[in-house]
Structures are given as C-alpha cells and as structure tokens.
Amino acid sequence: MAQVERKHPPAKVYLTVWFWLFVLSFIAYFIDLMHLPFLLSAVLFTCVALMKAGLIAAYFMHLRFEKLNLIYAVLAPLILLVALVAGVLPDALSFFLHQPR
C-alpha cells in the first residue's frame, strides 16, 4: 500500500490554535455575562462558534492540509444542514414576530 507522505505542521501551530480556542471560549462566556439584546448576542455566539469550529476542523483535523477533493467532499454535504435550518427558521421567525410581549 502506498504510504501518502504529507507535510504536517509544527507543534507551535497546534499550540497557537489551542490558545485561540481558549480565547474564543472566554469571549463567548463574557458575551453571555454582558446580557446583550437577544438578536445581537445570538449573532455573536454563532460567529464565535463558527470560528471555533473552523479552527478545529482546519488545524486539529488537518482539513487545511488535505487534498482539495477531500475538503469539498466533506464540506459540500453540510450545505444540507443549512437547508434544514432554513426549513424551520421561517416558522420560528413568524412565531417571534407575532408573540405578545
């Protein structure tokens, strides 16, 4: 079996990513403590979560160092998750808009 030889990042890269994961977790926790308006904090939480997920997938799971074919094969189907959310969201939004306050 042909062994696929790939370049792997030095330990410093992992430590840097680790550090940023901690920082982002702290940021998310502080956003929660600040009690911002719901919509603003929801957007911020989602952004921080996507940034963390991106860091983990790209560096810890080495997706960044894989062949483009694999990256597409892994990421493209996830578009269906967006479709899943999009299917539920209109109902949720209409509920929010018509909720008595």
């Binding site: 904090s41 939480f45 979560a49 997938a57 810890f60 062949k67 892994v74 269906l80 998750l81």
Partner: protein
C-alpha cells in the same frame, strides 16, 4: 469514430493517452482523496455523525421556539459557590476541559507524526483523563437536575423549569448523545494508547491510527462547541 482514431494511433501514443487519463484525479490511476481508506472511512463516519447532531440540534431548536417559554439556561445550570449563584460556571468549566483535551490530542497526533512512542502515549492518556473529567462534570450536572425533578418526559412546575415540555427531552437527548460519544472516545483512545505502548504501530511502520482517532476526538469537541452555543448560551 473514436475507435477509428485510436486504431490509427501508434501504440506508443495509445499508451501515452492511457497514462494521461490515469494521471487525472478521477481516472482510477490514483486515490482521488490522497488519504488511506481508514481515514476516508472516519471522515465518512464523521459526516454522518454531523448530520445526527445537526438533526438533533434543529429538532431541539424547533421545540424551543415553538414553546411559549423556555427555562433560562443561566439559571438552570448555575453553580452555587461561595454563597452566590455563578451562572453557567459548570458549563464553562466543561468547555475548557474539553478544549484542553482536544489540545492534548493534537499534541499526541504531532508526537505520532514524529513516531515518538512515549510522548504519544502520555498525551493520549492525558486526553483520556480530560475526557473522564468532562464526563464526571456531566454526571454531576445530570444527577443535580434529576434530583431537582427534571426527567426526559417531565419538567417540574417550580422555577427555573416552569413545567416546560420538551426541555428535559432536549437536554437529556442532546447531552446524552454527546456524552456517549465522549465515553466511546475515551475507550477508543485507551485502546489506541495501549496499542501504541505495545509497539504495534512501530512494527506496522505507521502511526496513522492515532491521527484517525484524533479526527474522532476533535469532532466530539467540535460538536460540543455547537451544543454549548445553541443549548446553553442562547
């Protein structure tokens, strides 16, 4: 037409043409993803698991937005410490524990690239230790909520639950599924650590099994990022 063209070609040209086709990514001459089958299978599993958790999270989301009220997570998951309630403290601790374990796992994979048997085992065991710490926190959280009367099919009328339907089901299903993944991951990593220690991968000449196990572990951490965000923070 094509047959005529190829018949008119010299054999050398035919071979060259065939080699040209095989050289392309999808021509069958080489692995289009440039990874071993083990790693590819793990990625396929991870993709399917992403949809499991995606479905669970969307289900929870639609339950939550269609109910009149929802228990405030920062009250439900507050930790009573030093005479005051610390909102979400336990969840923050759990998040830091899991991020730490992911970091140890990354170092284990790095040590495995360098075929450093001792360091690989050490980092793998540290990953397992942090996984177990995470599970203990979860066991504490579960037993606390169960003692307060929360069930997968029932929420007590008193605050902070207010008898909200679907809260217990979402909580126990989501965190239960994730906790089960962490538990399986700890067992998986222990097996891999044992095999590294016994020198199985030295004899095999490849430490890729560590990297593949790492993919699984990092994915479990990745799922927690979304459960943490959408279940606890929102």
């Amino acid at each position: 037409m094509l047959k005529e063209v190829s018949q008119r070609m010299k054999p050398e040209t035919q071979t060259a043409l065939l080699e040209e086709v095989l050289k392309s990514d999808w021509g069958g001459g080489k692995s289009p993803f440039a990874v071993s089958w083990g790693k590819l299978m793990m990625w396929i599993f991870i993709l399917s698991d992403a949809f499991t958790f995606g479905g669970l999270l969307v289900g929870y989301g639609s339950l939550r937005i269609s109910s009149e009220r929802w228990p405030d997570p920062s009250q439900v998951f507050a930790l009573h410490l030093f005479g005051r309630d610390m909102p979400l403290l336990l969840i923050a601790i759990m998040t830091f524990i899991l991020v730490s374990s992911s970091g140890w796992m990354a170092l284990a994979v790095h040590a495995a690239y360098e075929r450093d048997r001792k360091r690989t085992v050490t980092y793998l065991l540290l990953t397992c230790l942090f996984g177990l710490l995470f599970l203990s926190c979860q066991a504490y959280e579960w037993s606390k909520l169960i003692m307060e009367g929360l069930r997968p099919w029932y929420a007590p009328e008193h605050p902070p639950f207010y008898g909200v339907r679907g809260f217990g089901a979402s909580f126990f299903t989501l965190t239960g599924f994730h906790g089960l993944h962490v538990l399986s991951g700890v067992i998986y990593l222990l097996v891999i650590a044992l095999r590294v220690a016994k020198g199985v991968y030295d004899r095999k000449g490849s430490y890729e099994a560590v990297e593949i196990a790492g993919l699984y572990w990092h994915f479990v951490d990745l799922v927690w990022v979304f459960i943490f965000t959408f279940f606890y923070l929102f």
